[in-house]
Symmetry: C2
Subunit: 248 residues, 2 copies
Amino acid sequence: MTNTPKGTLYGIGLGPGDPELMTVKARRVLAASRTIAYFRKRGRVGHARAIVEGLLAAGAAEIALEYPVTTEAPVDSPSYVDAIRAFYATSAEGLATRLDAGHDIALLCEGDPFFYGSFLHMYDRLKGAFRVEVVPGITGMSGCWTAACAPITYGDDVLTILPGTLSESALAEKLAATDAAVIMKVGRNLDKVRAALATAGRLDEAIYVERGTMAGERVLPLATLDHAGAPYFSIILLPGGRGRRIAP
Amino acid sequence: MTNTPKGTLYGIGLGPGDPELMTVKARRVLAASRTIAYFRKRGRVGHARAIVEGLLAAGAAEIALEYPVTTEAPVDSPSYVDAIRAFYATSAEGLATRLDAGHDIALLCEGDPFFYGSFLHMYDRLKGAFRVEVVPGITGMSGCWTAACAPITYGDDVLTILPGTLSESALAEKLAATDAAVIMKVGRNLDKVRAALATAGRLDEAIYVERGTMAGERVLPLATLDHAGAPYFSIILLPGGRGRRIAP
């Protein structure tokens, strides 16, 4: 009997969206991968898959892991949590079957694999049984502050990264206590985030970035944004500079 | 009379240290640059310059901007602040002379140009007069959490980035109020940072990373590190996971 060595799971950071902002290492691993996998909404090409178009090995097998919910359900509802937990479990089992058979898999990750995101659900379920190698990527927020020409931290600045899902009072308290901030997951939380910034007295400093480094990029002062909702790929920046020790 | 167009200043993010973790765009811009510039301590090759060894155009001109202080002086002393401010002013004037003459300059930046770092001192002084283009890079902290196999944020985690230069009480207060944290600029602040983590009740979660992604990389629980000082390229991570909505 032969013992097939198990495959390796690669978590490949793709960066903020512009394919030229992938690392040399990510490009190398991707081009050598015989099997790639990625998350996407049902019925879509998938954002991660779109970034690597033209960069894959000819004939590479593709595993599309399709979220069971195509519109944002209330994320605290038990039915949502149950459905998504079952989806992650099934996805991990599918990947495990191929890894057990000796296939390496490159799992595409928008941004950086260890900074939020769905990859972590596979990582936590598979790291005990398989070798996992992570290739870091440029975060979406870094792509956004670069697109906005907005240095985020100077000198001794404190930077706080906040999900827009927090309560308005928690957001306001943390925004008032930091030098610089990035607010992720703005989307349907836009009005609440705006109110929290106003309460913290920092609305006028806030920059709104939509689709940073991608086609359709928009950068504008948050205060001038109309009250229509923000799409998923949007972020709010509160640039630092109060911690600047050496002013010009 | 002809009017020479002014040159462009490129801020090139080099990432955390491993040259393969540079972006494809950074490599392209660097390989095409006729003039590069970088900061370094006097008498050293310079860390940024070492990363790009073998990646520059043949015959590229090099401008080494050498810090006037080779050992860490008390950074709040007036003499330090005066010396470093004069150094940044002179450095910017030198770059401006070449940009005025129509030369593009690629200024090397460890990590990401808009996330802390000396590049910002040039950016603030030159952006009004010259075109500046920034290529984002993977931050040092991202290289460190990848090296440590430590996902830094899940789900709705709050992440706080803290300079180790803050007071012990400020550090302890912010460490107690966040899900995840990264402490930068550990170096001579190691003992203070350790005390603050203990006060916040989080010393046992802390991971110490020295020279992440570089030769001589060390990763260990902070609690097991001896009390000798930490070098400049060290960082402390407090991984998240409390904000995990979908547990396995």
